[in-house]
Structure formats: C-alpha cells, structure tokens
C-alpha cells in the first residue's frame, strides 16, 4: 500500500484554503475624470485602473426633458412615463434601513430642441431624444442608445446629460409581451449613466455589460446597482427646496441663444402644459421630503 503523498496533499489543502477565502469580486463602478482630462472609473472594491474624482450632480434634483416629437415607434406620453419610471427606480433604490439615495431627477416635461448639446453661456436642457431617421454617428449603427455627460474637469460636477436613442435601426417595445428592445430597460440603464454610474462587471445588474433583447430585467435594480447609487448619493438630511433648473437656465430651443439670467427661475415654453418654475421647485422639494419621510 502506498503512503499518502504529503506534498500533494499539502498543495491541495492550500488550494482549497485559498479558494475558500472571501473573494473581492469587482462590483459597481462610477465614471471618473483623471489628470489630463482622461475619463476612467472608480470601482468598489477599488481596481488597479481606478483614478480621479467621480462624476456627480451637485444638486439632488437634476431636471430632464423628453423631446416633444418622441419617436415614430413610441408616443411622447409613453416615453415620458417610462423615462420618469426609470429615474424613479434609481431615486427609490434601497440603501438599507428604509433609506434612499439623496438624488431625485425631476421630469420637466417636453422640450423642443432635438439636438444633443451643452451651451457654455446660454441655457440648457438635459434631453432624451430619439434618432428615428438616421443614427448620426458614423460606424455606430449598432448602437441602441448613447448618453453624453458634460461635466467640470476639475471637480467632476455634472452640468448636463443627454440621452440619444436609436429609433432608426432598432425595434423598440414598451410592454412585457413580445418584447424586442425594451425601452424601459434601455432608459433605466442610460439613467444610470446620466447619474454618473459606469458599467458594472456584475452579471444581471442594470449597469451590466451585457443585455439581450426580450429581457426586461434591467428595469429593476440589482443590489449592486443600489450599492452604486447609494455610494454616489449617500442618504442624508432633507436638503430643503431644490431647483432643477439647468446650468445657465433652461432653454427650449436649440443653439446658444442669449445668456439667460442665472437664478432659480424655471422657464417654460408656453403651451407645454408643464408646471411653472415655482411649482417645480416645490415639487422637487416635496419628492425629496417624501422620500426622506419614508425612511
């Protein structure tokens, strides 16, 4: 009878021990800006490629608008409702102990401008816009949606974020039956980018790096997504009144225009049916306060 091979047994034991140790799997990541204006990510736990400061909205109530033409595939009220639900999903993320992240994007209604733009001196609007005729970026017809985030290179403060959805090449659906490319899943994922999150290596997360048509699971957040948004906007005391007006004011049409007055006034296009400026500030404050009470 052979004696046990102690050397091999010791090796096997070592392997088993190391494998049994808790593994620090990579999880959610936030988009960051590094030196020399490189963008990168900051992940939890930290990854060797981490650098810079994370992107973030300084005010807890960034406004968003849905371009009034919406899509030939989906009408404006439907898009607006789905977009509002997508942002609410992030705002209502479970941070534990009944707490929620201190961010609640505000649905500001329709906007006329269909351009994805940021005006450095004039008014702005963070828009959700569909490209139904032609996807405007060469060689990227396979892209379903694109979020462009504009920010301060030093501080990482987000100034504007525009979501473009490819309605020219992609069949979009909104229901739960006969699902193709699910608009709610697409907008919930892109809303994560709007808020400064990057892609997550965690399978099944809304910010994951893989999605299949027919899947509606991105509509709801995973624990990894919730951990990411709660880290980015930690629960805190009610900030009180919050003004969702964009940087340099709101501008309904495209182009730089004249620099509007800074301040808390919210301009609306006559006939949009949206709430007035003071009402929007009050709405933002109410939403945040209500969520705080729910804690």
């Amino acid at each position: 009878m052979r004696r046990p091979d102690h050397a091999l047994l010791a090796g096997a034991a070592l392997a088993a021990t190391v494998l049994a140790l808790p593994r620090t799997a990579r999880a959610y990541c936030r988009t960051s800006v590094c030196e020399a204006s490189y963008t990168a990510t900051l992940c939890a736990p930290p990854s060797p490629d981490d650098c810079g400061v994370p992107l973030f909205w300084a005010k807890p109530c960034p406004g968003f608008w849905v371009q009034r033409d919406a899509s030939t595939q989906v009408d404006w009220p439907t898009v607006d409702a789905i977009a509002a639900a997508a942002f609410a999903t992030w705002a209502n993320a479970d941070c534990g102990n009944g707490m929620h992240p201190l961010v609640a994007p505000v649905d500001m209604g329709p906007v006329s401008c269909s351009a994805r733009e940021y005006n450095q001196s004039g008014g702005n609007a963070s828009v959700i816009v569909f490209r139904d005729v032609e996807w405007p970026y060469t060689g990227q017809g396979s892209t379903l949606a694109l979020t462009t985030v504009t920010f301060n290179l030093d501080s990482g403060e987000i100034y504007d974020a525009d979501l473009e959805v490819n309605g020219a090449n992609i069949e979009i659906t909104t229901g739960s039956v006969g699902v193709k490319y699910d608009l709610a899943s697409i907008l919930t994922h892109e809303a994560g980018h709007f808020l400064g999150l990057a892609h997550s290596p965690v399978a099944g997360a809304t910010m994951a790096i893989e999605y299949f048509p027919g899947d509606t699971s991105l509509r709801t957040l995973s624990t990894d997504d919730a951990a990411g948004i709660c880290a980015a906007y930690p629960p805190g005391p009610d900030p009180g009144a919050c003004d969702p007006t964009p940087r340099h004011g709101f501008k309904d049409d495209c182009g730089p225009g004249d620099p509007p007055d800074e301040g808390c006034a919210v301009e609306r296009t006559p006939g949009t049916g949206g709430p007035g400026g003071a009402a929007l500030v009050a709405l933002a404050a109410t939403v945040l306060a209500a969520r705080r009470r729910s804690r």
Binding site: L14, Y38, T39, T138, G139, Q140, L144, D154, F212
Partner: protein
C-alpha cells in the same frame, strides 16, 4: 522539490482565473454585439499603431455641438486598407477649457498606448473607430512573449441578438489572442468577404 511543485501547482490552479481574459469584459454605450465579419465589413481599414498625440475641441456633429478628441496614430502595421504612416482618429468626448464630456462605451485612446483599431471614415473624411469600443483593442505587452489583445477600457454594454450570431462576437474572438494570430484572422475574414459577390 515535490513539495515546491505541489505548492506551485496549487497556486497556479488558484490564481489562473485572475489571469485569464475575463469573458464578462469581452462582452460592450448600449450597442448590438458585432461578429468579426460585421466588424471587418463595416471598416475601411484595420491598423496596429501607437497613439502619439491628441487634441480635443468643440465641433458640430450629429445635429449639435459636442466635444470630440482627435488622436494621431502612428501606424506600425496595416492589417488591411491603404498604407499610411499615420492617421488622425476622432472619438466622442474629451476635455476643453475646463469642460469635459464622456460617452460611455466609446474607445479611449491614450497617448503612448499601442492598439489594434478598426476604422471607417465619417462623411467629413475623418476616421472614426467602427462601432465605438467594439473596434478598439489595446495591446498588452509581455516580456519575451508576443503582444495580446485586451478589450477597450470601457467596453459599454453589448447587446445580444434576437437570433443567435452564427459565430462568436468579434470581441470574444479577438481578446486574449496574440497580435499575429489576430492579424491573420482579420486578413482571412477580409479576403473571404472581398471574394463574396
């Protein structure tokens, strides 16, 4: 000696997964996953080169003003397409006068870094990277071992198809492979596509 061998074997078994290309990273803004034939067919050129310099500026593009970055690539190898000493490649995002823009899923070309790039021209004749980060493969240099391909730093979210692809995605086929192997693979795909009526 046997003990040393056993310990090394155990360590190799334990740590190997960390060295292998992460399949998750191999999958990509929200974009449909392309297979290699689609990536080749959609490209005017495929090159290996080193990013040499770059500059960002505001331009009118896609119906609005946005920040783009132009990066000069010094070409080391032309896999297919016209031979050039260098090309300027435009990517979405960058930084100008204190303002930054980022498009998640776009390729990030870093000066000094070598990469395999699939390129096509925009209507204004400027080269762009085909299918965002799906057309960008940084090279990982190894001491004494041929360079291999890595996924672009922010691969974006790759979207599957309603019907399965007949072959693996381009990223699945290319990431982790040696550059010479990939060059042969891409040229073979290009020749086959060119021969197809």
């Amino acid at each position: 000696m046997r003990m040393l061998f056993a310990w090394l074997t155990a360590l190799a078994v334990t740590l190997a997964p960390a060295w292998l290309p992460t399949s998750g990273q191999a999958h990509a803004a929200l974009a449909v996953a392309l297979d290699l034939d689609e990536l080749v067919a959609g490209s005017e050129a495929c090159i290996v080169g080193r990013a040499a310099e770059r500059r960002s500026e505001w331009v009118e593009l896609g119906g609005g003003r946005r920040i783009v970055t132009y990066t000069r690539i010094d070409v080391e190898r032309t896999v297919f397409g016209r031979e050039r000493a260098s090309v300027w490649v435009r990517t979405l995002g960058g930084g100008v006068d204190g303002i930054g823009q980022v498009v998640s899923g776009e390729a990030r070309l870093r000066p000094g870094q070598r990469a395999l790039l699939f390129l096509r021209r925009a209507p204004d004749r400027v080269f762009t990277i085909t299918a965002l980060a799906q057309g960008h493969y940084p090279l990982v240099e190894h001491d004494g071992v041929p360079a291999t391909l890595a996924p672009s730093p922010d691969p974006g979210t790759l979207v599957g198809r309603s019907t399965p692809l007949p072959q693996p995605t381009a990223r699945e086929r290319l990431v982790g492979r040696a550059l010479d192997d990939v060059t042969a693979l891409v040229r073979e795909a290009k020749a086959r596509l060119d021969a197809t009526p």
